[in-house]
């Protein structure tokens, strides 16, 4: 009798919910680590083909580039509109290009591309694999003695990791050019002054860190998205939960990674 009363209390229910959340968190972290290890071990046996990787890579590029360019382009225009006029007035017009390019290469280009890839690709990867899981296609693969991590994860992770820097480079360039046009229109800053400032401000170190960070983001987003898909429980609800989880975990992970990169390379 006492036991029943105890189980019905709100404190107990909240405790059980928290316990379930912690268990789910630990389990997901464990799975991401495990699948990451299986992925790297599998690379040694070339579990995928160049054609499959290219198929996934084109999917990444085609789907994510328009939205990434729109976001990064508009962000740089907004920054230029708000900052360029003020800086020119204060005599700092020669630093506008530097400010926008550093912002694009160090931060905006890569983080906005990351958000775009998560929305367009991460969610799609998670729901695709989750649907395969709930319709027993993953089990069918296992019975046929094919490792689903090798078959499904490997081409997607390789494509995501390699395509991310390309998307980031194009997006950052787009952002810098967008900033130049907006600065010219809103404050009359010449293109020469803007781009001189860009060359002056940007360093190889910035570009190297940008590339390294985009590789890390691409790997993290695809690994997390595939893992969350693989963790899906039964039914349509399970697919929805897996997709949401992939998006949330990827967002949080790349922000944490971004912080780590900033601390290591720019602090």
């Amino acid at each position: 009798m006492v036991k029943v009363y105890y189980k019905a209390t709100y404190t107990y229910k909240i405790f059980k919910m928290l316990q379930a959340e912690v268990n789910s968190f630990v389990s997901t972290v464990g799975n991401i680590t495990l699948f990451g290890i299986v992925f790297f071990k599998g690379l040694l046996s070339f579990p995928t083909t160049f054609r499959t990787i290219m198929e996934q890579a084109s999917r990444f590029g085609v789907s994510s580039l328009p939205i990434t360019l729109s976001i990064v382009g508009m962000t740089s225009i907004i920054i230029a509109m708000q900052v360029a006029g003020e800086m020119v007035k204060q005599g700092g017009g020669n630093y506008v290009g530097m400010l926008i390019s550093i912002l694009m290469v160090r931060e905006e280009g890569v983080i906005m591309a990351g958000f775009a890839i998560i929305s367009m690709i991460g969610s799609s990867l998670a729901s695709e694999i989750a649907t395969m899981k709930v319709t027993e296609q993953i089990d069918a693969m296992r019975v046929l003695k094919i490792n689903p991590v090798h078959y499904l994860f490997t081409p997607r992770i390789i494509a995501g990791t390699l395509m991310m820097p390309l998307v980031v480079i194009v997006a950052s360039l787009f952002g810098i050019v967008g900033g130049a046009i907006a600065s010219n229109i809103t404050s009359g800053l010449t293109y020469k002054a803007y781009f001189d400032s860009v060359w002056f401000g940007l360093s190889m170190h910035d570009l190297n860190v940008c590339l390294l960070k985009s590789l890390a983001f691409g790997f993290t987003i695809t690994l997390i998205s595939c893992t969350c898909g693989m963790e899906a429980k039964e039914g349509a609800k399970g697919v929805g939960i897996a997709t949401t989880k992939a998006v949330v975990w990827s967002f949080v992970s790349i922000v944490i990674l971004d912080l780590i990169f900033a601390a290591i390379f720019f602090y």
């Binding site: 319709t135 296609q137 069918a140």
Partner: protein
């Protein structure tokens, strides 16, 4: 030897799903496992196919590949019929590169002919009826010449005529491959038309083991309730 299962025990979250189950299926024979939903029938198949780990007991097989036909076919919906059937031959580590394109085309055509679906190699699963998808999944299952074939409710969701066709193909595949087969089913027609022996599970226990004829004749409370599809009897729905 086929399949020999001894004292198999499996629990999920402290709930015992299979409690000390033993049975044997010889090569070229079909065992039908019947019972209520949740009685552990599909768990037996998942344990034999290696999809889940047993808690204790023994599962001995005659070696070679184990094939499984899933309840809703589980065809890879992004691949066409040809790639679905030849998937293991193209992607499995030990088989990759072993077959030429021509070999694959010949093998797929043979398997499709065996299940009465010649000429549909280019179609996608979404373009096929439920019965056709099931037969394609049969073809995919036998492509590696398995020694054991497991069927998880092969006639679920099909009309009576398609079910009869599927039952005929189960028997045909048994004869062609001489594989030991296990068919999990709820349907008496499937038991009568395909099974050499029957195992009835209830609450994780084997409550009947014998031939289909014995199942129909035997007058135990369990068999009587199952054969008559009665709500009255020792087996209660959860």
């Amino acid at each position: 030897m086929g399949i020999e299962v001894k004292n198999l025990i499996k629990s999920f979250d402290k709930k015992v799903i299979l409690d000390n189950i033993s049975f044997k299926v010889d090569d070229g024979k079909i065992l039908s496992i019947v019972g209520f939903s949740g009685s552990g029938k599909s768990t037996v198949l998942k344990l034999i196919s290696g999809l889940i780990e047993k808690d204790s007991g023994e599962i001995n097989t005659s070696g070679g590949d184990i094939a499984m036909v899933f309840q809703y076919s589980a065809l890879f919906d992004s691949l066409n019929v040809f790639d679905n059937i030849s998937f293991a031959l193209q992607e499995r580590k030990d088989l990759r590169g072993k077959y030429t394109k021509k070999d694959l085309e010949r093998i797929v055509a043979e398997k499709l002919e065996l299940v009465g679906l010649s000429g549909i190699e280019d179609k996608y699963p979404s373009e096929l009826s439920g019965g056709m998808q099931k037969r394609v999944s049969f073809a995919r299952a036998i492509v590696t010449e398995p020694k054991i074939i497991l069927y998880d409710e092969p006639t679920a969701g099909l009309d009576p005529i398609s079910s009869t066709l599927i039952e005929d193909y189960i028997v045909r595949l048994k004869n062609e491959t001489n594989a030991a087969s296990i068919v999990v089913t709820h349907q008496m027609s499937t038991i009568k038309r395909t099974a050499d022996s029957v195992l009835m599970l209830y609450n994780g226990h084997a409550v009947f083991e014998g031939s289909p004829e014995e199942l129909l004749k035997e007058n135990t409370p369990y068999t009587k309730q199952f054969v008559n599809a009665s709500l009255e009897g020792p087996m209660k729905m959860n």
